[in-house]
Symmetry: C2
């Protein structure tokens, strides 16, 4: 009874309402698409033609549209992935560095994310329904990550306590989102440095616990 399709691990008959595991090639296509789109968006901006992405990923346009009903959905999926990557960077940083350094490094990481996403602001302003999930997703993933770093640094007495993670995230985001040229980037860098200095200003200098 040899077949050349991979043997399904679960029931695939009866059309039950249960979600089924995607076919291996479909999953691989989705990963490649997301990966390729991220690269193309980074180098050519989020307005890059979908056809170009499909070609570079080695799939038909139809396949791209099977996974993402429109270009906005693809853009949103790429951004969600990068938000997750940024959030996930917090834990290793916290494990490998002292609290304040971990916090600084993570903010640097976040700045790197925001600074390269030139199309993010435009996308969010477009009002397209596909982007509606992005601010909540950012809040759910990035705020807890930053709050953890802030709390740890505050408990260690390296920064003051009572700093709201949401405010800090927004402030840094706004400052870098409007950067247009090198002087602007310089100015944003100075203002973020000032914010970070501000965090240390009221610090106890000694762990509370």
């Amino acid at each position: 009874m040899s077949t050349d399709v991979p043997a399904p691990l679960e029931n695939d008959e009866h059309g039950s309402a249960k979600a089924r595991a995607p076919r291996a090639d479909a999953q691989r296509n989705l990963d490649t698409l997301l990966q390729t789109a991220a690269e193309v968006f980074a180098s050519s901006g989020v307005d890059a033609p979908v056809r170009e992405i499909a070609e570079k990923a080695g799939v038909g346009i139809g396949t791209l549209y099977r996974h993402f009903p429109n270009r906005a959905e693809l853009v949103a999926a790429v951004f969600r992935r990068e938000i997750d990557a940024c959030a996930n960077a917090a834990e290793p940083l916290a494990a490998a560095h002292p609290p304040f350094e971990a916090l600084s490094l993570w903010i640097e990481r976040y700045v790197g994310f925001v600074a390269t996403k030139k199309g993010l602001a435009a996308a969010l302003h477009s009002g397209d329904a596909a982007y509606e999930s992005l601010p909540p997703h950012r809040n759910q993933r990035l705020i807890p990550a930053l709050r953890g770093l802030l709390d740890t640094a505050a408990s260690a007495g390296e920064i003051r306590s009572g700093v709201d993670a949401y405010d800090l995230l927004n402030a840094v985001g706004s400052l870098y989102m409007s950067v247009r040229d090198e002087p602007g980037a310089e100015s944003a860098r100075r203002m973020v440095a000032l914010l970070i200095d501000g965090l240390r200003y009221g610090a106890t200098g000694r762990p509370e616990a």
Copy 2:
């Protein structure tokens, strides 16, 4: 010797290098185009089709392209016009109100300009050469306008002196440029109010002169 073309006021022969006055209908078309484009951009965003603008203005697409070699050039022209209008609002405000009130009202006017221009940030980020003139134009027109209001209010002792017009303009602009929803607008409003309070903080309370 009756002709039905309007009599030219200047020499129109010899193909001299001197700039000539535009034909009356051409000037009227340009005004209508600019006016219509501003309305369409305000209601439908800067991505509105050029065809729609040409139709609403009652001219052929070719005429639109005669005046503006591409859509970016039209968008830039509309923004330049609105920057000028905002700059020109300073003088009447200064004449009609006490210094601090004039300053507050003008900032409100500027916020109104920035807040409605959802496409501005995206346009500036696009890197299109047509938009390169906008930041310099903004600086040349808006900074002197704001600086004048700041100086007058500082001389009257209503705000502190030494506040840089460029910094204030950028700060207010950045804050409102990233507004996406009603809570965001609330937050931006609070932050601008805080900035304005900050201006009054170190005031002498009495005119210097």
